[in-house]
């Protein structure tokens, strides 16, 4: 129950986001991630989607290993200032081919995004807003009374958001 309550208070209310979108302030979110994952507080995957062309297993491993850095970053943040804490964790670690970014909600649900290293057009700010968009969508999933917190995410709306952020390989 506790975890549920936290999700009712997203950092940016959905209304705000919608207002921004209407004004056309939305950052140009092109399709750029190659893998997006949502990880539960207990570190098991709630949702993983990667571009279909590449080895899915590899991305699972990439996301899983990135949790080392997420754990470390969370423990470094400590318990202080839970409210004002930055949820965006930044670049977790670079590999030869990919950059891995992390984001953690107040209830310790993690979002991990893998981006192609060659994609230099993607700035930190864009990544940040992508995560925020993802968080809002995740909040919608949590608000669904039929969704049981801790279960795999099977929402079509969430899926669409994720797909919109992923590289469309023809």
């Amino acid at each position: 129950m506790e975890s549920r309550r936290v999700h009712w208070l997203p950092e940016i209310t959905r209304a705000e986001v919608r207002a921004k979108e209407e004004k056309g302030e939305r950052p140009p979110l092109s399709k750029m991630a190659v893998c997006i994952a949502v990880i539960a507080k207990e570190n098991y995957p709630l949702y993983i989607k990667s571009v279909p062309t590449e080895n899915e297993l590899k991305f699972h491993y990439t996301v899983h290993t990135s949790l080392d850095v997420v754990d470390e970053k969370i423990s470094a943040m400590g318990k202080a200032l839970v409210d004002q804490r930055e949820l965006y964790l930044g670049l977790l670690y670079p590999t030869e081919d990919y950059k891995v970014y992390g984001y953690v909600t107040n209830s310790k649900v993690k979002f991990v995004m893998v981006v192609d290293s060659s994609n230099t057009a993607l700035r930190d700010n864009e990544i940040r807003s992508m995560f925020r968009k993802l968080h809002n969508s995740y909040t919608d999933v949590m608000c669904n009374p039929f969704y049981n917190p801790g279960d795999q995410i099977q929402s079509r709306a969430f899926d669409n958001i994720v797909t919109s952020m992923m590289v469309q390989v023809c």
Binding site: L57, H60, T65, D68, E72, L92, Y93, T95, E96, N148
Partner: protein
Amino acid sequence: MSPSQWDFPVELCCRPMAFVTLTGLDVVYNAVHRAVWDAFCANRRADRVPISFKVLPGDHEYPKCRTKRTSYEWYIPKGILKTGWMNKHLNLVPALVVVFYELDWDEPQWKEKQSECATRVEIVRQSLQGRNTKVAVVLIQKKTPLPPGEDVIASERAAALCNACDLSGKSLFVLPHTDHLVGYIIRLENAFYEHAQTYYYTEIRRVKSHKEYLNKTTHQLLFVRHQFKIAFFSELKQDTQNALKNYRTAYNLVHELRAHETNMLEIKTMAGFINYKICRLCFQHNTPLDAIAQFRKHIDLCKKKIGSAELAFEHAAWMSKQFQAFGDLFDEAIKLGLTAIQTQNPGFYYQQAAYYAQERKQLANMLCNHEPATIYPNPDPLETQTGVLDFYGQRPWRQGILSFDLNDPEKEKLGILALQLKEKKVPHSELTITLLSNAVAQFKKYKCPRMKSHLMVQMGEEYYYAKDYTKALKLLDYVLCDYRSEGWWTLLTSILITALKCAYLMAQIKDYITYSLELLGRASTLKEDQKSRIEKNLIKVLMNENPDPEPDCDPVSVKAAQKLWADRVSLSGSNIFTIEVQEFVPFVQCKAKFISPSFHIDSPVQFDIFVKADCPHPIRFSKLCVSFNNQEYNQYCVMEEVYQKSETLESSIQETLCLIPGKTKKFTFKFVAKTEDVGKKIEITSVDLLLGNETGRCVILNWHGGGGDAASAQEALLAARSFKRRPKLPDNEVHWDSLTVQASTMIISRVPNISVQLSHEPPALTNEMYCLIVTIQSHEKTVAKDVKLTAGLKPGQDANLTQKTHVTLNGAEMCDDSYPALLTDIPVGDLQPDEKLEKTIYIHCGTVGTRMFLVYVSYLVSATIEGKEILCKCHRDETVTIETVFPFDVTAKFVSTKFEHLDKVFADIPFLLMTDILSASPWALTIVTSQLQLSPSMAPVDQLESYVENVVLQTGESASECFCLRCPPVTTGQGGVATGCYVITWKRTSAVKSTLVVNTVITLPHVIVESIPLHVNADLPSFGRVRESLPVKYHLQNKTNLVQDVEVSVEPSDAFMFSGLKQIRLRILPGTEQEMLYNFYPLMAGYQPLPSLNINLLRFPLFTNQMLRRFIPTHIFVKPQGRQPDDASIAAA
């Protein structure tokens, strides 16, 4: 491992140090020379100058110096850097040659020695012709030299020697062979170091001077070469800043070279070398970020420079080496004090090196899959005449050819073939595994457990490819639990598939079964068809048959495995495997649940075992058994199915132990608990499910406790959180998620069927024998045997209460401390059905307070359950809380005979003791009697008899007594005089006659006694009458041992006339008494003040009239005169 083509040469990786050769030292036979040499090379710590010394004979031939080119116009370089160049300047061409020569200044044969020395120098010079190498001479002398300037011969001869040897004075040294050898040596080597630096400086200048002759078209390679040489000489000179600068320039120049497939390898090799040097120096300068940036740049520049497609594996090998070398440099820097972080540590470079090593293997597999008949070309195109290459990174079959066109394509083909065939023999997996294990060690250090696990999986897989299945399985098995515990089922499944292959290929039956069980289970993400295949294989194994091979296995290994499996079948060894289930997620789940958390002994213990299978096909088990902490019960909880041998495991669904996938099956067990287990916990310690039978193979799935495996705890948590409504199921089916495990139950005694009633009159009064009547009535159908009563203070309360509480059955006797606080197991006998029994218990409470009393009745009764007769022990207990209060409050006070309050009494003068008994009991009390027990220091004035005998006090009522006492004079201390005790004998008014009376002793307060010099008492009637004479006699008693002078005066009062001595001065002898007689004549009626008697003691000024007032009356009541004067009054008038 022997150094491969890709390893960096030693001379590149070492730290360049100035090279100095020492000649003229015979370190084998000459002890002095040996000592000198030892002093040079032993104990070279960091604070010594960086020189590498070498002892060479005086006539050693140094590498010849090629004639210097005056013009580069027609010179075309054949490569970038010669393979021998670095070694030449590190180990062959010295910066300084030192000639050691034994010569003292006072040498008698000076001339001869001098010329010999000059010859030696000359020989060295000859050998070094054309080089800038310096020469120095060290004279080893036996004598300690005099301070400079004092030894005239020495300075003369030194000048002469310099002249003869053509040396500057700075190059001649003296080494006295004395006690301070090491000190001299250190000074010497510092001097050598300066010479060496000058040498390398001139070398740098020399190389730089070539630059102006070069042109950009034909001499591109030379730009790189010269820049590299300048940097290398700077390093030798220990000028690392300039070295770094020059290496950086060299690096940029390398990438400016025209690259083509033919020279790509040379360019990459040199780029790799220079990059290595740059990174190394950056780490040395403690600028690790520069090193990392350089390395990233290097990789980005070179990543795409694959070169010949047919030799693409070479690029991967080169890349792998670059990462590995950087990882090594990084690690070395850390060992020297650099701090790395989780996201930037050598592990990433090793990991990437391993990645390229894997790629190299794949490329090699792709490019080197020649026909087995392909023969290695002869003559070997990789052989060179000298056995080594002239230039780094060139092809042996076309060394020094700069043209981009292949003038001999046939030769090129053979060369490539030779390289490919050679690559085939490289132990790729071994290389990869080494790199991976390096990376594992790093990630372990930098808190990356998941990265570590991932790398271990890769290592395991690499071992699998290398056909080392034992090691592969060991590694994979090690990490499985990490992925399992975090619930990454996709990854777990992928690892399990490899593990299953390993287990199959080694015919490890137990592992094979374990992995199959998990791959069939709910944690597996395998598709149904795969699961189905695995299940069939599992059944085959259990039927003692060979399983089908796993897909995509190496065919040779499969053949070997099939043979192994066949051997296993014929082998009749142990075919029973016990598998602990809680460590993984098998395809059968089990939950045990006692129907109730506790059972009475007279009802059967019941529990259910729920089992559910997740595999694709129905499966039949042969046996289900449950074990308990008390193994006696195990025999009652076994379910076995006997079936014919011929039947297969997938049998008809109707059978009890056949599980249909997804359906929960319930097995109910029932047994009667043992009477000795009453009050104990019955726990299910394990549930065993047998798969297969003894004729084939048999697997025992063992659940610890009441079921549950590696994943069930998390599932239970989720299920508990879930808000989902579960659809309704038919009555006999249950939702698996809604089932909770209840693995233990309590056995509690039979419900007692007797009543215990307590009757008493609370509160209890201190020290009384409080009467508690226990009434026990049996409602049992049969005789309650062996009834026992335990009564008294409930254990576990304050220890003081235990000492101050006593319980007895005998009310006729007062309790003392020997009585217990709790009477245990008082036999009461048997109780017939409906029989009633009464028992009186007396409780003696010595202190006030609240106490809990326990009345516990136990008995035996026989009962029948499930056709079994058992003797049950039943008990009923009652607890009662009783307050103990004081029966009454007693106060005692001292007053004077005038009933005035006294805070002290005067010796020998009577006073009154008043006691007050205030009843505090809610029940009426009868005071049987009271008694004053005086202490020896007190004496009664009259009879001490009780005035309160048989007085009944209701709540709040009080009874008082008054005793007249006198205290003989004492020499008192501070504390006063003990008065004595007051004993009240009482009982409850309601108590029967036989009840014991209680004696309550109250200790009376101490009183302060003071002596007084003079005591006055007055004899006067109780009242007077107006105009009637009132005689008053004052007695003055001297209480001292002295003769007292007393002044007595009487002050008149308005109400009286009086006769007697108005003022007198008299003496009273010790112990005697003086009487004063007065006749008062009252004038007014009412309560009138008497004429006051004033006494003044001359010896005791402290004795005041105030004190006197205590003893003698000050007022008297005067009655008015009668109306009818009688005779007496007339007579008086």
